[in-house]
């Protein structure tokens, strides 16, 4: 029977069918299965806990109301479909965040700038990619907030998520050439920002 996994657990597609038929508890099962994945995607873009929680909630609410558009495993697996919603929700939130007046609160103070400069110097002088707390999360997110939402999205997907150009194109709905151009521009923008502190 194709609707059951080897452990007799209903598959995602079977649960989606149940939700469509009005079984709300099936949606809770889908949430239990995939909430970590969605939270990890959100955490790539937002360092603050509240922002991550907001993205997780919004992603599942959007998914619930869009279940009728989910075509099933033959088009894309449920996790891939949900990840796409999570990324789009994060992207929307990044764009909204840039428009908010409190976005200016993300600007670096002189103390931040000095700290960042010395940290970046130490990264440059070391040959290895040390991922430990050389740059604090808060400082790093303040630095990235200087980039546009598109730049943040494409660089995060490339460098933090390790996605390929084709995968990013599928996730965002952009063409592969647009992803490449966007990535090229995003790297140039980030270099420009970094040069100010190095």
């Amino acid at each position: 029977m194709d609707t059951l996994t080897p452990h007799d657990e209903p598959t995602d597609d079977a649960l989606v069918k149940l939700v469509r038929a009005g079984d709300e508890s099936a949606f809770e099962k889908l949430f239990e299965r995939h909430r970590s994945r969605v939270a990890r995607v959100a955490a790539r873009f937002f360092p603050r806990r509240e922002a991550v929680e907001e993205i997780v909630q919004e992603t599942f609410v959007k998914a619930y109301f869009a279940l009728d558009t989910y075509a099933g495993a033959h088009a894309a697996s449920f996790p891939a479909w949900l990840t796409q919603i999570a990324i789009n929700t994060s992207y929307d939130e990044l764009r909204r965040a840039r428009r908010r007046p409190q976005h200016s609160g993300q600007s670096l103070t002189d103390a931040d700038s000095q700290q960042l400069g010395s940290r970046l110097d130490s990264i440059i002088s070391s040959d290895t990619d040390i991922e430990s707390e050389l740059v604090s999360r808060d400082l790093a997110s303040k630095l990235l907030a200087r980039l546009s939402a598109e730049d943040q999205l494409v660089l995060t997907l490339l460098d933090a998520e390790g996605q390929s150009v084709a995968e990013i194109a599928a996730l965002t709905g952009w063409s592969a050439s647009k992803v490449k151009v966007r990535a090229h521009r995003a790297r140039a923008s980030l270099r420009k920002v970094l040069r100010k502190y190095l």
């Binding site: 991550v52 990619d129 933090a160 980030l190």
Partner: protein
């Protein structure tokens, strides 16, 4: 703005720093998993779903009311125009309706005696015409 006069760095060096910064900006897995395991997260999602459903229902009613709000004055205007037209026609006199009766009578009988009587322009009353028709029909059937 704090800006340093540092030796020129290559694009590769800057890209490497950039990658590290992007990775640093993300929350740690353990922290994220703890957040995702929050027991009230699904409760909040359910509440939000319910709220959106209610909003959608309200929007449906609001759209219906908006349509009615526009349609009612338009329909009232059409009704007023129709009433004015009807009053105008009926106010044109009873001649109109009399003509209608005569035409119906002629139409029902074809080109028989009634049409002859009517087109003669004789001074016969409608009752006289009707009597003539009935008499003719009675004599016709008796033959």
């Amino acid at each position: 703005m704090f800006e340093k006069n540092s030796p020129k760095l290559s694009d590769e060096q800057l890209d490497r720093v950039g990658r590290l910064i992007i990775r640093s900006a993300a929350s740690g897995h353990a922290e994220v998993d703890a957040l995702a395991a929050s027991p009230f997260l699904y409760t909040r999602i359910s509440a939000r779903i319910e709220e959106r459903r209610r909003e959608q229902r309200d929007e449906g009613w609001r759209a219906l009311l908006a349509v009615a709000w526009r349609a009612v004055p338009a329909m009232a205007m059409v009704a007023a125009l129709a009433l004015m037209l009807w009053l105008g026609l009926s106010g044109a006199g009873s001649g109109g309706s009399q003509l209608g009766d005569e035409a119906a009578l002629v139409g029902a009988r074809g080109n028989g005696p009634v049409s002859v009587v009517l087109t003669d322009g004789d001074h016969l009353s409608r009752d006289d015409v009707f009597e003539l028709v009935v008499n003719r029909e009675v004599t016709g059937t008796s033959k």
